[in-house]
């Protein structure tokens, strides 16, 4: 076991993936000499050289377009987008080519590209440094979307993303970059598409991912005082989606709240709620609720705490899960 921050776990995952497979190349802005603005690539340029860890000009569309060409030639590019909102110039390459090339060529040109994106808020970033853009990516057929929330998963899921033969948008929650934990570099690379039950409970299921996992766990802790024993399910992978684990949990608890930091309207939580409804209708004691960021542009640093869901807002949603039906139960 190795222990340190999520940044270190990601750094080791990149280094181990590069050592294991010479086809893995890193591209991005400031990832070489500087080691990335979050230091995720620290030391890798020195270890593997500038041909494999390449500081690029500031040109996101070009960087991702290059990754497409490199993948066509058999490489396995790992691209760093400096911040969530700075991935937008690359959206055309992502939506029109990275996501579609395999399908277009009937499998002749797979795109084993990993696009690492530091995402979400909570670190006091000024405008354009705190977006949660997962819904755009998850909505685009052909892309896998992965978001670790633990240090161990940062290592394991990044290894899995790089090994995947499909393009993976790998969303790294900035607010958890300095969270500490342990990981096992010798453990088998985990499969993508498996959710995890992070806390067992019986009253209701909180379904979440990325930066909201610790918030949901804290909510579950304080919910005990109100007599609720909450289960916390962490998706880990948004695409593919682990219907089995989520539905199994909600069938047991009969209630669900989906929690994410991104705005709610047409957000990923809508997909989660719909899938739960489709699979668990007869088990549900209440409608599936969502607790999300507001439908506003991500706020400036001094206001962001009002936007990000917190324990209170999650518990308020849990309280609205029609508990009165519990009391009516015997009369039915």
């Amino acid at each position: 076991m190795t222990g340190a921050t999520m940044v270190h776990a990601l750094n080791q995952a990149l280094g181990d993936a590069m050592a294991a497979d010479p086809a893995v190349h890193l591209l991005g802005e400031d990832i070489g000499t500087l080691g990335g603005v979050f230091r995720v690539t620290d030391g890798l340029a020195g270890r593997f050289g500038g041909d494999r860890v390449t500081d690029t000009p500031v040109a996101e569309s070009g960087i991702l377009g290059m990754a497409v060409g490199m993948a066509m030639y058999g490489l396995r590019p790992v691209v760093e987008m400096q911040f969530d909102a700075f991935a937008y110039p690359a959206f055309e390459q992502l939506a029109s080519h990275v996501a579609k090339m395999r399908n277009r060529t009937r499998g002749a040109l797979p795109m084993p590209i990993t696009i690492r994106i530091p995402y979400g808020g909570g670190i006091g970033g000024v405008e354009h440094h705190s977006d949660s853009s997962e819904a755009y990516y998850a909505h685009t057929p052909g892309l896998l979307v992965v978001a670790p929330a633990t240090v161990a998963d940062a290592y394991g899921l990044l290894r899995a993303a790089i090994e995947a033969d499909d393009p993976v948008v790998f969303l790294e929650p900035k607010v958890l970059y300095w969270a500490k934990g342990q990981w096992d570099p010798a453990a088998p690379v985990p499969p993508l598409g498996r959710a995890a039950v992070r806390r067992r409970g019986t009253s209701a299921s909180l379904v979440t991912y990325g930066p909201m996992l610790p918030v949901c766990l804290a909510a579950a802790d304080s919910a005990r005082q109100s007599g609720w024993d909450l289960e916390v399910v962490e998706l880990r992978s948004l695409v593919p989606f682990d219907d089995e684990t989520v539905a199994e949990s909600v069938r047991r608890t009969g209630r669900a709240v989906v929690v994410h930091e991104a705005s709610g309207f047409a957000g990923f939580g809508a997909e989660v709620a719909a899938r739960i409804g489709e699979r668990c209708f007869h088990y549900l004691e209440a409608p599936v609720l969502r607790v999300t960021g507001f439908d506003v542009p991500y706020p400036p640093p001094l206001l962001e705490h009002h936007h990000r869901p917190g324990v209170e807002r999650i518990l308020a949603a849990v309280a609205r899960l029609q508990w009165e039906s519990e009391w009516r139960e015997p009369a039915r």
Binding site: E29, T33, G124, E127, F265, D295, L302, L303, H306
Partner: protein, 349 residues
């Protein structure tokens, strides 16, 4: 065609430390005064980040000659499109210093009325502002208004597709835009040599049919001269130009950056010897264009500016969370209005 040479000179246009004699003393002193203000502003804003009163500050220390020259050359009816690095220029243009740092302080995304000063918001997504500048200039030209637009951009920003699209659009529509690249040597950690293989960034105009001018960006007089020429030509229907001003970013990328990871102290020390402010001061004193009283007055004005920033920043009210919902749409949709009620209810508890 413009009839204007498309390729820049090999050596940057320079007036300081040359035999040039046709110097307008009054103009030179005004440039000096503005540079002193800008330098003091950079120092004060950086100090405020250390005290946690600004979230972040990308300093333009070392680049003040450009801020001074550009703001002096712009006419009142012209427009300025700045980047996140250009707060000092925004202040020199007349924007209230506290409003100018709103984004960087973190109480809102932007603080001044763009129309009042004809200054667009600070652009953070690189190069995006260059196309906005073309659009505004195009609209002004369609309206028959004789104004020019100046878009600032960094050396790194010239690698973005938006920059190239904007320069081409301006050329095709003969829009009255001056693109001014502040080549400060770095895009965060990446040096110019890893950003561009062109002989100069001013060369990037030729492919689009836009004249390129290379100027010593640490020479306020020279920058003023070339910007003034370009703006004047633009206002007269002569079309866009591209200016590269060669300067140096003396401070780290922002207060959060550790520049020692990618550049040597000696390099910075060498750049400090070319600091545009003492350089102009020396030049003007040698020619008897600047006396102690003027220097003192400039410094007093700069201290006053710094004091305004310090004091007023401490006074400003905390932002109202309900504002988050007020300006998202012209007419707030019901679901957003409902969220405002939820948040206001939480705050009331």
């Amino acid at each position: 065609m413009t009839g204007h040479p498309l390729l820049p000179t090999d050596a940057p246009v320079s007036l300081l430390d040359t035999a040039e004699t046709a110097i307008d003393g009054e103009l030179a002193v005004e440039l000096y005064r503005r540079m002193v203000l800008a330098r003091r502003f950079n120092r004060q804003a950086t100090a405020l980040t250390l005290q946690g009163r600004l979230s972040v500050y990308p300093s333009s220390a070392g680049q003040e000659a450009v801020a001074a020259a550009v703001t002096l050359a712009l006419a009142e009816e012209d427009w300025l499109f700045p980047t996140y690095r250009d707060t000092a220029a925004v202040v020199l243009r007349g924007v209230d210093p506290v409003q100018a740092v709103t984004l960087l302080r973190g109480d809102w995304h932007h603080g001044w009325d763009p129309g009042a000063h004809r200054v667009a918001p600070l652009a953070t997504p690189l190069a995006t502002q260059t196309a906005h500048a073309v659009g505004l200039a195009h609209a002004a030209a369609l309206a028959g208004d004789d104004l020019a637009v100046l878009a600032l951009i960094g050396d790194g920003g010239t690698s973005e597709g938006d920059f190239h699209e904007a320069v081409n659009l301006a050329a095709v529509f003969r829009s009255p835009v001056v693109f001014l690249v502040q080549n400060n040597g770095y895009a965060i950690s990446v040096p110019l040599s890893r950003q561009s293989a062109a002989p100069s960034l001013a060369h990037k105009g030729i492919g689009y049919g836009v004249p390129g001018v290379l100027v010593d960006g640490n020479d306020a007089l020279a920058v003023h001269r070339v910007v003034d020429e370009a703006l004047t030509r633009a206002r007269r229907g002569g079309g866009p130009s591209l200016i590269e001003a060669r300067t140096y970013r003396i401070d780290p990328h922002t207060n959060a950056d550790d520049a020692t990871r990618y550049r040597a102290d000696e390099e910075v020390a060498e750049a400090r010897r070319r600091d545009p402010l003492p350089r102009l001061e020396r030049h003007l004193r040698e020619r008897g264009l600047l006396d102690d009283a003027t220097v003192r007055a400039a410094s007093v004005a700069a201290e006053a500016l710094a004091a305004v920033l310090r004091d007023r920043l401490a006074d400003e009210p905390r932002p109202d969370p309900a504002d988050l919902f007020t300006h998202v749409y012209a007419t707030t949709p019901p679901h957003v209005a409902e969220q405002r009620r939820v948040l206001t209810g939480e705050a009331g508890r």
